[in-house]
Symmetry: C2
Subunit: 420 residues, 2 copies
């Protein structure tokens, strides 16, 4: 079954690679329309997923993630529409020249081919990923979490109809709708047809994909983000940035997990920071030094806990923050090196030397100075949308959008050229 | 042992990432010098490899590949020197801007980190790869073929001494000198420390790496290159290009393996092509149509053979060429799609429409018009050197050199920025 899907996807990809920007934009527009038109069957499929999810005892948080309603579906359709108007990277010539021997050379962006995306119980990912891949000229094989089997199938049916409507091959978008986990393994080794695997989920999924795949995998998405605050950082910036990075949306990968504070700034800054975070009910897991300062500054309502060793390097994805006092920049860099996940880190400082060292030496996808880490996001950084956040170093790093869904080819034009 | 090597490599990579261009250039210069200074011990180690190789009954071709002498060692040192003067990609800012909210963003090239290179019995690869990786600011772990165990160890010893001489960490260059094959498997799964694997060898090695590695692998190097000749191609270009592509160096991956000729051009061109290739003793493995034309044109000294099915898609790496008559461009594209390895293909034609379709639709790393395929090479295409030729679509495609040995990071500067 996978073999046949792969063949169909590759054939569809070849056709897609020959389309114009206008054709692919029309396809994405049609996808948005079909999502609205097909509202009833999508919502009724989702209602079935929700019913089964409740019976299976899924948590309220997971059920909420599963849920589609008219408003959410319209938001998904609007996100798809946004993709249609983004600039098209396909065909862009990004280097060109003439060699001394007269050969004319260009490097031109071309579609990747076939992308495999493995995701969890988020129905919206189905449409987001489909729109980005089709826009970038690639076919996509989707495998969603078993909790959204019916919703994903209904969404894909609508999206495939849109492709047919504009005379593009429906097989450019295929869904593995059988929940058998062996099929994930099969997709990960379908290297004759699939050019790239994008896992969208937790660290377990990423590790499984890395270990199993014979196809390049984009790993990422796990964010243990750090902030380092030194004694030159102004209080009126520190408090809003740390609160924003921790509190605004604690469940996402670019939220803050660990605060490192320079010893000489701790006595001044920590009490104010503690008070501000306390207002948002943030639990602070503190090393002995910061715990002593915060215990003295706070009251019994503050959520103060002595940090355990594994609190550093942990992705809490909740209103919990690990806190540690460090000697200075060097110790902060060492800590980040040891515990970070190469995602996003920020320095709050007015010392230009410290800022430049931090930006140079922290080996993360996105490094910030005097900013919240919450901007590590394709839309926030000006890409318009994102298909994943890569924390590996090959191909693309940080937010990945349309351009990162392309490859390139060398085009060489001669006039009878032979090599000496 | 590998764990410790990985740790040391990562530490060395972190130090390398903080060096200046001048420091890394000095290191590469010193590497070239030490190769010359250490001539005696390198050549005597190589003599031992050669003796064991002869005892083991290696073929003369393989023994020649193994052999180092003063002249070859000087050539290797010169190649290393060439790397020192190439432009440094590290630190290059290739995109920058200010977002509407005032965040200042740049994307800056940074070293990859640690590269693992697995190669076969070519001593020169040891020095080439070391020079490119160090220049690009990355540490490298080498694993050479067992036939060059002693040569590689002697080369690495000299190269490490060069690093120490310029106060860079010798562990930026390490060699797995134990021939146990389990260590290759170990290197391929050393994902805590190694950022990229480059196999340099045959298709078996590439497949093994893809299947075993939990680290991104650059696959490539296998070249079943095609030329398509249509009826508009001028004879005075066709003959030299086809002869050059097949004959100049048949053992390399960018040499021609299959000639596809448009039916309406076959009767005119094939006899002349056959005669020219015959002068170079090229064996032609022909489909029935081309065989009939060539048999009629040639004489008993021509090496004409009826093609077997597996002659198409085969990398002969020898003076053998598969020949097929096709209806026209569409059939040529189908043939390449079915049998090609996405490496290098060329069209010989004066028809602009056919040329553009070929360049657009052939999904290979390098596509040519009216040129030999032999230019798919880092030096030939203006990169100055190459570490590999990628035929996959992620990260880099075609010749890979210094820039393709880098990653990038996002640098974001704010002034108290928080996300709404």
């Amino acid at each position: 079954m996978l073999e046949a899907m792969g063949q169909r996807a590759k054939l569809a990809a070849r056709l897609l690679a020959r389309t114009t920007t206008a054709q692919r934009n029309a396809a994405v527009e049609a996808m948005a329309e079909e999502l609205s038109l097909d509202r009833e069957s999508i919502l009724s499929a989702n209602a079935a997923d929700m019913r089964l999810g409740r019976e299976a005892g899924l948590t309220p948080a997971l059920l909420d993630r599963l849920l589609l309603n008219e408003q959410r579906l319209e938001a998904i359709a609007n996100d798809v529409r946004t993709v249609a108007v983004l600039p098209d990277p396909v065909g862009e010539v990004f280097e060109q020249g003439v060699l001394p021997n007269g050969l004319r050379i260009e490097k031109r962006r071309v579609p990747l081919g076939v992308v495999g995306v493995i995701y969890e119980a988020r129905p919206n990912v189905t449409a987001d990923v489909a729109a980005l891949c089709i826009k970038a000229g690639s076919a996509v094989i989707l495998r969603g979490g078993k909790e959204i089997t019916r919703s994903a199938a209904a969404l894909v049916q609508a999206l495939r109809r849109a492709l047919e409507r504009v005379d593009l091959p429906a097989d450019a978008l295929q869904l593995i709708d059988n929940p058998d986990r062996e099929l994930v393994r099969g997709l990960l080794t379908l290297d004759r047809y699939v050019d790239m695997i994008i896992p969208r989920g937790g660290s377990g999924l990423h590790a499984f994909c890395r270990q199993t795949a014979t196809i390049p995998v984009i790993t990422g998405g796990i964010g243990v983000c750090h902030a380092y605050v030194d004694h030159t950082a102004p209080l009126d910036q520190v408090v809003p940035i740390i609160v924003n990075a921790k509190v605004q949306r604690p469940s996402v990968c670019n939220s803050l997990e660990t605060l490192l504070i320079e010893r000489s700034a701790a006595a001044k800054l920590l009490p104010r920071l503690g008070a501000a975070l306390q207002e948002h009910k943030v639990e602070l897991r503190c090393d002995p030094e910061s715990l002593a300062i915060l215990r003295e500054a706070g009251n019994s309502e503050w959520h103060l806990v002595a940090a355990q060793p594994d609190d550093f390097g942990q992705e809490f994805s909740a209103l919990i923050l690990a806190v540690r006092v460090v000697d200075g920049l060097d110790q902060a860099l060492e800590h980040i090196d040891q515990y970070g996940t190469d995602h996003s880190e920020t320095i709050l400082s007015q010392d230009p030397m410290a800022i430049e060292r931090f930006l140079n030496e922290v080996d993360s996808a996105v490094v910030y100075a005097n900013s919240s880490t919450r901007f590590t996001d394709g839309s926030q950084l000006g890409l318009g949308a994102e298909i994943a956040i890569s924390t590996q170093k090959l191909h693309a790093r940080g937010p990945m959008a349309l351009r990162e869904l392309t490859s390139y080819k060398w085009i060489v034009r001669g006039a009878g050229h032979v090599r000496d």
